[in-house]
Symmetry: D2
Subunit: 251 residues, 4 copies
């Protein structure tokens, strides 16, 4: 019994992506619109298309420090091809790196489905988290006190007329966090993306996918830069480990 | 001694990609233009931007049969997260799958640098390959007699006024192949992309990078579809292997 | 502040693994004993050493059908080096493939820590699982009605005088499963390994590690066989997918 | 048409590895002997078995600094499972890390096949390399002036009566390097393994495979230690990069 796929239909001389001839899309849609179409099955509305471009740009790169950039450079430095380096970078994008999108989107989608206004829902959520001493993914950032990318995504949404209950709830949670804990913990880019894709109707389980698609660009750039500027097996990692296992001994 | 990177500069509250504030790019550039900026260090000209959109769309997906789609589904089916599945797909994009872009771009860039008109260069190349009984990457396709994506990329280039010596040479080689061998071996999408990125001034060693960035989209879609529609460890692979090792024996 | 590692201490002219000079281990310990030493920090007792050899042998390979073998061959077939192929195979070893060891070891370790004899514990466990309609990892096998490898591990344990409460509990659960459900669901090799490593005192979270170390051998063999016997990009996967997405349409 | 595999034959209730019932191997062979059997198709002779144990032990781990250990820890630290961490470590084992085994084995196998005594062949090789200003893989080590592992492998070989033309040639090359260049560049562990597996009759293309099988053990230990001792996303990598791209600019 054959298994089913609803993504692409291939036959000699023809490639149909979600029903559309790929050669018709080429030159007519943008790449970001095609990302939307591929993942959702339908074309984005104009405001969605604008948001998708910005959302993907927001996550293209964050310099040489994130573990994914380091992993891509390490694997290339070990004497491997570009695809292996980028694969290692993508592999690094786990629950603790980029995973906040899906974790935050899950919470937003579950809570936005509840009755009541977003401020009430937000207050209830923050109080619950506080009682359970849990952190909420998508808020706060190691480096950026206010994440400029989430600010920009919200501003753009208001310019193009995009956004709904999930984006509102994400902001309401930010306010509730400050009101209840007395400490600002602003929405970061992962949280903003979570809110935007939720308002676009994407399943939260796809959250990491948007980050992967965007960051693949930066990973290719890092791997290529490593290849073109550095020697193999360089020591770009300063080993700072100290042995604390068994003292010297014999069999 | 610190090592250097020229991709992104990060400081609290600011992310500058190739010198540009990433929040300025969001809403002003398209994602595909940002791919160009990230990999090249400069923004594309309008015709380059149009080509970059189409080029990336052309490689987004090719159905469930390519080894990269299969690998992504296999790894997901083994009980792994989305990032591991996409990483496995990217890892599969080796010299024999997607690698034709860099192989063809290398030839085009080396030959286009030679003196003389493209027809002479093409004829010389094809005769050399014939004498050495070598295949030229970027020509011919398992499934598509004429690859509709390369046709579309050339047509779009002529519409937007893009293209130079590498695209001309790629066509000249196609003609020389038919004239000399008597057999049509049309430029495929890998070959067309190789020609386009060469005319954009990209190093051929980045060839696989464009394919990886584009195909990451399809891989996310396949992994997500596998997750949402199929059971773990399903037998979507029909094992067709036959044992021909040593017969039964004992120690 | 340096971070700590207790595995290996390196200095010029010397490599000390868990305190032992590696050149003293070479020629004195077996490879399997060194696996035990590396993971546990101490040398195995003789009976443990015998079990470790057999346990690792039991999982070396299971032919060309498991997803990990397929993934290794696929990635090699895409034109990638041996290390990338084996990496893809290892990546495949997820919760649904090889993951039963850690899942079963977790249950055995949690339940064996309870007061009472193993038959009572086993009965309670099976009744709980039945009420929750849950499957227990480590029991039953797609292909082997009785898994010959678990039988052999138990027989060897009795020969060399190895085994304790976890191995007893694992058998008691097998009996309880049949007694309560009326259907035989014999302990498979994953379950037997789970019981053995639990009696060796390993944390269940290391469960997948033993499978990975053993299967790496088979994966190297499959990747090498693919490289030496097959053409790149061969169709060893029979695509059996059927498109059921949107019908043909235009923008 | 089915494809062929000569590794393992599977049928209900039976697993035959290279013809042997796997349950017969369990308890009778050692794991290292089974590695030999799996890769070669035949059991090792006693001296070969002793060498295989030592050879695999020699490469089990080299502390926290090699890129493969770092990659395994990085990927785990990103919030990924053990298999993904080990896969990333294996992926790192490329031409510049562990690749010396296959590179050196290739040279030894090609040169040992030449007529003449090993000293003449060695002298010719070193002079050729000198003229081409090429390094020979398998000689010299970043950290160890004399690699204690290669010394041990040679000593063990003489104890157990193992070794032939490849091991002799490897030593002769060491002598020729010092005699001709006036600088000691002793055989390292990769070079010694290359010589040993060549005398065992393994194809040089399998070189990386032995290293992967051995190092998988250390990688599991590093990944598990990272998981059990460290917090996710820790900064064990000291980023020492400096931005030297375009200065701040606007669209």
């Amino acid at each position: 019994m054959p298994w089913k796929t609803a993504i692409t239909r291939i036959e000699p001389g023809q490639i149909r992506l979600r029903g559309y001839d790929i050669t018709e899309l080429m030159g007519r849609l943008s790449f970001a619109e095609t990302v939307f179409l591929t993942l959702k099955g339908e074309r984005p509305k104009p405001a969605e298309a604008r948001m998708m471009e910005a959302l993907l740009i927001s996550s293209v790169d964050h310099g040489a420090t994130p573990p994914s950039s380091q992993a891509a450079r390490l694997i290339l430095s070990g004497g491997n091809p570009l695809n292996a380096a980028v694969a290692a970078g993508v592999l690094t994008i786990g629950d603790s790196h980029g995973g906040a999108i899906e974790q935050c989107a899950q919470v937003l989608q579950e809570r936005a489905a509840q009755a009541g206004n977003v401020d009430e829902i937000a207050t209830r959520l923050v109080e619950e988290l506080r009682a359970e001493k849990k952190r909420l993914a998508g808020y706060g950032h190691r480096l950026h006190q206010v994440d400029p990318r989430s600010t920009r995504l919200y501003k753009l949404a208001s310019e193009v007329g995009f956004g709904g209950r999930h984006m509102e709830l994400a902001r309401a949670v930010e306010n509730a966090l400050e009101a209840i804990t007395g400490r600002a913990l602003p929405l970061n880019v992962d949280g903003a993306i979570a809110a935007v894709i939720s308002d676009m109707g994407f399943d939260w389980q796809l959250g990491k996918g948007f980050f992967i698609i965007a960051r693949a660009v930066g990973l290719v750039a890092h791997a290529f830069e490593e290849w073109s500027r550095e020697k193999p097996m360089r020591r770009f990692i300063v080993d700072d480990s100290e042995y604390d296992g068994p003292a010297d001994r014999s069999l």
